[in-house]
């Protein structure tokens, strides 16, 4: 009985440690960053569609998140992280790292420009989101493989 409990506890500890360890893996980190990006886009879209009232703080926070993510996102693609953890990263990223980084930089620049000249109403948020959405799609078009 004691041995069984010990064995189960050990197994759970290993699994737990695995989960915690995985949390630092670049594939997992970058997936989390993309989720953050989606959350920010969602907040802006709510305002753009008129589902949520215009709120300058939310617009600022969302655009800031996007600028932050765009800055450090390309760092999450070191050699050796091409596969694993169900990554949807295309091998093209490592074949054309400069272009990949340029896409991230463009997103950061567009979000930064909107942040500097904060969209002041529903229509302006919609326009900013359109530009940013095109950046999202432009990178995904080449560098993400749907699994």
């Amino acid at each position: 009985m004691k041995f069984r409990t010990l064995a189960v506890a050990a197994a759970l500890a290993v699994i737990g440690a695995g989960v915690v360890a995985a949390a630092d893996e670049p594939q997992v980190v970058r997936q989390g960053m993309m989720k953050k990006m989606g959350g920010a886009a969602g907040a802006l879209a709510g305002i753009a569609k008129g589902e949520k009232p215009y709120d300058a703080e939310i617009v600022k926070a969302s655009l800031s998140t996007m600028v932050e993510v765009a800055k450090t996102f390309p760092d999450q693609f070191p050699a050796g992280s091409e596969t694993g953890h169900e990554t949807e990263a295309s091998p093209k990223i490592w074949e054309a790292m400069d272009d990949f980084k340029a896409h991230a930089a463009k997103l950061g620049a567009d979000a930064g420009a909107a942040l500097a000249d904060l969209p002041a109403d529903q229509a302006a948020v919609g326009a900013a989101l359109k530009t940013i959405g095109a950046d999202c799609g432009g990178c995904h078009e080449v560098y993400r493989i749907k699994k």
Partner: protein, 302 residues
């Protein structure tokens, strides 16, 4: 002596069979009167069909940006299990493009996969979907294409290994897979769903990517829109039938919104080959996106 007669009989049968195959699968042309009803081209509708049909996505020059999207110079390589196809020049240039084609010749290519010289065209050009288009839409599209810029570009021909380089065999492919039948039967389809069915099964040719193919490259229509391996190589094409817990959880509004903005309900963004499609969908009138969404909510879940 009997053996010689027997063998002679076999040879005769084989010849008769080959002759029958050749006759049955010869490239078809629609009757000339078909195109009489097209009337004066409605260029606005032609532009709409151009976007729904995604012509620029294959026929614009490789790497063409937004500005050169309307110069249909051809040249884009389409890799497939049968070899690599190169999209032809369909600009209105009289020599390098289709400027010299009549409406009937254009229509025969779109609806029957028959080229100007009476040759079979490869179904990488999705005439197996375009076959469902109306005469009017094809006439309007033809009129619109004539207004686009000319290009003198001569792209490379297809790069296909034997036996796929034999156009004759396409007659057999068409016998099996080319028809105008609806892909799915929808009971109680209202006008919006029917309109969506036309757009998706016809000019939209969505099934050409979103439906898995068999070993001969024909669509497995029992799995209509159920997704499958990417025919161009990497990754998977999603199932867009209303499977509960998956695409079925998207509302019609979500689908129409995605086609307009490229954002999924949880704000992931469109990617891969769908980016060009979504950009075209965004150019359509709202009612068209809504009709497509209504149809996708109505098809059988696979």
């Amino acid at each position: 002596m009997a053996l010689r007669k027997f063998l002679g009989g076999i040879v005769l049968l084989a010849a008769a069979g080959a002759g029958a195959f050749y006759f049955i699968t010869a490239p078809q042309r629609l009757p000339a009167e078909t195109w009489a009803s097209a009337g004066e081209p409605d260029l606005a509708n032609g532009e709409r069909i151009f976007n729904a049909g995604g012509c620029a996505s294959c026929h614009a020059a490789p790497g063409a940006g937004e500005a050169e999207r309307l110069v249909l110079a051809g040249g884009l390589a389409l890799k497939s299990p049968f070899g690599t196809f190169h999209a032809p020049n369909i600009s209105p240039d009289e020599t390098a493009g289709i400027g010299g084609w009549t409406l009937a010749e254009f229509g025969d290519a779109m609806k029957r996969g028959t080229g100007r010289r009476g040759e079979h065209l490869y179904p990488a050009f999705p005439y197996a979907s375009y076959a469902r288009m109306t005469v009017k839409d094809i006439g309007d599209l033809y009129g619109y294409l004539k207004t686009l810029p000319k290009s003198a570009s001569v792209p490379p021909g297809h790069d296909l290994p034997f036996p796929f380089n034999m156009r004759l065999l396409l007659g057999g492919w068409k016998f099996l897979y080319l028809n105008e039948a609806p892909r799915v039967t929808l009971a109680d389809a209202d006008e919006t769903v029917k309109h969506g069915q036309y757009l998706v099964e016809g000019p939209g040719h969505c099934g050409e990517c979103h439906t898995p193919r068999d070993v001969l490259g024909g669509l497995k229509t029992v799995e209509w829109l159920a997704g499958g391996p990417n025919p161009e190589g990497e990754g998977r094409i999603p199932d867009i039938t209303p499977v509960e817990g998956k695409f079925g959880d998207w509302s019609a509004g979500d689908i129409a919104g995605y086609l307009e903005t490229g954002f999924t309900p949880d704000f992931d963004s469109v990617g891969g080959a769908m980016v060009a499609v979504q950009k075209n969908m965004a150019r359509l009138p709202k009612e068209d996106r809504e009709a497509i969404a209504a149809y996708l909510k109505a098809v059988p879940a696979r």
